[in-house]
Amino acid sequence: MSELLESHTSGNAHVDELVRKGYEHGFVTDIETEVLPPGLNEGVIRAISARKQEPAWLTDWRLSAYRHWLTMAPPEWARLEIAPIDFQAISYFAAPKKNLPKSLDEVDPKLLETFDKLGVPLHERARLAGVAVDAVFDSVSVGTTFKKELNAAGVIFCSFSEAVREHPELIQKYLGSVVPAGDNYFAALNSAVFSDGSFVFVPKGVRCPMELSTYFRINARDTGQFERTLIVVEDAGHVSYLEGCTAPMRDENQLHAAVVELVALEDAQIKYSTVQNWYPGDEDGKGGIYNFVTKRGDCRGARSKISWTQVETGSAITWKYPSCVLRGDDSVGEFYSVALTNHRQQADTGTKMIHLGARTKSKIISKGISAGRGQNTYRGLVKVEKSAVGARNFTQCDSLLIGKRCGAHTFPYIEVKQPSAIVEHEATTSKISDDQLFYCLSRGIDEENAVSMIVDGFCKQVFKELPMEFAVEAKKLLEVSLEGAIG
């Protein structure tokens, strides 16, 4: 059998070609950008705040986050090799140079072209797809579709800056209530310099009539992107939110440090899906995005539910742990993840489920795929406090190894203080089974398709949680990144 495999793998030029296939979102859009000079100090933070005409309390909030950040050291516990980051070499604000568009018609056509290339369903496609999109280009949100329809339903979906202007009371109430300004090194940095992002508010009893979506793109050179997303769903509300990310190919590393806060009140449900395809760097690990993201959801109300689904195929470095604080009784947290590392990508990702309320439930399904020289780590915490009577957790982490030089690692922390809780964790690591591959080959399926089918099957549990158009994109992304990595 192995001979058969060898004969298939050695001569598979087409597959090799696929592996070498470039990053298709790596173009740069040539539009005029207004960029703050590189460097970070209180003046820069005041300048960002002033440019966005923010109220004084928010400026102070940023400054206190910055002062706290100065006292912190970058985290070193992750299994990542990170070259030192020069925070003074980064520009903390870049915006397309034109007055902020009042409607999509005023958006720079070149920008729309960019989103077109990216396949963002921003315009007509948005209507067809029934998806409301907020696209964040470098630091500024450039357009939000479907505003009227959402307004009619009472849903607020706008850029963060707009929310600060229009709904300051909501922002003041919820900003930093899930991820405090000084939560960790990168969250503190984000709190100090965040430039824009999205805000969603779903009032009591409203089921958001459509899926909401944000597309993030870093375009300008030497800039970092620091967006902030805040989603608040009141009692019995429901929202599904999608997030996608791309960046141009550049030789230097670019920084992305985002914060996402979710608040679910009684009976509320939030579904947050991400397809992360930031530029991963080239085969030798040159360039690529450093992706340091803090995502946390707070199930504040009884019977609330927060579900994270992520497909992480991009970024040179991924440092990301979407978490759920299960505060309300009977609340539910879910985490579904596919993380792929190829070439020299490194990912240290996972989740935290903090059980505080009675009968809280959590489910973690994590699929890691390592190819090339990729290093893929699952790091998770399941914590059951004394108050979480009858809590339940199930965790499954599977890793697939493709090749001899990659690594797959699993670090789950389990801390239980409540005897009526049931916590289960299982993890496996293996390579693509020869038997599965042989079976497919013997049925006349070529290796490329066979690997694709097997990987797709491996990830199915997660893909089925994604909204359909994202599931299609995610599957396509994996195929491009992976096929032929075998052999």
Partner: protein, 384 residues
């Protein structure tokens, strides 16, 4: 007396006081030391008499050789096939607080006793006893010659509740040799222990630990599979109650082709006890075709007890099959109901099920008499 005070008292006249103080200058492990995150506080916080359960002395199988270690004294009863000598152990340990107890031994020149086992037809008993209060160190190096099969019984007993034992045992298993190691921790002293096992080609280790006593016990068990076809089977049962704090950090390192390991670790915690288990499987680059499985199942029997477990996988090789599983829960309601419907009282039903839970690990003890004694001790402890 705190651990630091005891160590300082011991350092009044050490062989190499300067370097020992240098070691202690880096301090004891603290809550930010990753491998001590669950135990650093308990270590610095020990100042009352622990619950002490000595249990019945087991009817050990007739031993060819008793190695008695009391404090720093070692006596070896005459035996054929075992030679005893003094050894100097040097070597560098990685910097950092995590290793401070082992480095303390290197720095203050703790005498090391070396046992070389050339032949062993009957079990070899290591009787480790630490009668005094205060700090004492035990350093033992055991070499098992190629092809030898040895049955090792390590009995940690007695011990002064205010004592602090710093124990470090090296076991080197040569090619084709096989060690069956039964370790019973039933002493009262607080302990920080370290065991390093190295397995050569086709060497086998079958390790069973039963840990019941000691107010505070920390054990770093490092198993290195360095020879092709090496095989390690690790079993552990930890039963803690009162305010006991037990922490086992297992690291299984596969560094060559085709080694196998299998781990089963069970913990039962009640009252205000805390039990910690971290099990790392590391498959280094080149250790292709390794197979490693680890399973830890735990019973949490009181709302004030805590179980922390961290099964870790670090895989850097190809063609590897690894898995780990961890569960924390309580006794099965259905099983309880079944027993009660058969007229068994609830406390008795709970006791039976708890003992049965530990039975899985005890079943790997081959000697029937020893197994039964241990089962009785576990049952008595559960009934407390």
């Amino acid at each position: 007396m705190s651990v630091m005070d005891a160590v300082r008292a011991h350092l009044t006249a050490p062989i190499n006081r300067e370097s020992a103080e240098q070691v202690m200058g880096t301090g004891l492990p603290h809550a930010k030391t990753e491998s001590w995150r669950y135990s650093a506080r308990a270590l610095g916080d020990l100042d009352f008499t622990p619950p002490h359960f000595e249990g019945d002395a087991p009817s050990w199988p007739a031993a060819a050789c008793d190695v008695l270690v009391a404090g720093e004294q070692l006596t070896c009863l005459p035996s054929t096939g075992v030679s005893v000598s003094a050894a100097t152990i040097g070597g560098e340990l990685p910097a950092g607080e995590a290793q401070s107890f082992a480095r303390l031994m290197l720095a203050d020149g703790t005498p090391c006793v070396r046992l070389r086992i050339e032949r062993a037809t009957t079990p070899l008993r290591l009787s480790l006893h630490s009668p005094h209060s205060g700090y004492h160190a035990l350093r033992l190096l055991i070499d098992v010659a190629p092809g030898v099969n040895v049955h090792l019984i390590e009995d940690l007993h007695g011990g002064h509740p205010a004592g602090i034992v710093n124990r470090w045992v090296d076991l080197r298993i040569a090619a084709g040799a096989s060690v069956q190691w039964l370790r019973w921790q039933r002493h009262a002293a607080r302990s920080v222990q370290r065991t390093d096992v190295a397995l050569s080609t086709e060497a086998r280790l079958s390790y069973t630990a039963v840990e019941c006593d000691a107010r505070f016990a920390r054990h770093d068990l490092n198993v290195r599979l360095e020879g092709q076809g090496a095989n390690a089977m690790i079993d552990g049962l930890v039963v803690v109650n009162g305010r006991q704090h037990h922490d086992t950090q297992l690291a299984l390192r596969h560094s060559v082709l085709g080694a196998h390991s299998r781990t089963r670790w069970r913990m039962i915690a009640s009252d205000r006890a805390r039990s910690v288990f971290s099990g790392l499987i590391h498959v280094a680059p080149g250790a292709d075709c390794s197979e490693a499985h680890l399973k830890t199942a735990n019973l949490l029997l009181s709302p004030h007890a805590e179980i922390d477990t961290k099964p870790e996988l670090v895989i850097e090789a190809d063609e590897v099959v690894c898995s780990h599983g961890a569960t924390v829960g309580q006794l099965d309601d259905k099983a309880l109901f079944y027993l009660r419907s058969r007229g068994v009282s609830e406390p008795e039903a709970r006791r039976m099920l708890t003992v049965a839970f530990g039975g899985d690990v005890l079943s790997s003890v081959s000697d029937v008499a020893v197994r039964e004694t241990m089962a009785a001790v576990v049952a008595a402890k559960v009934a407390q």
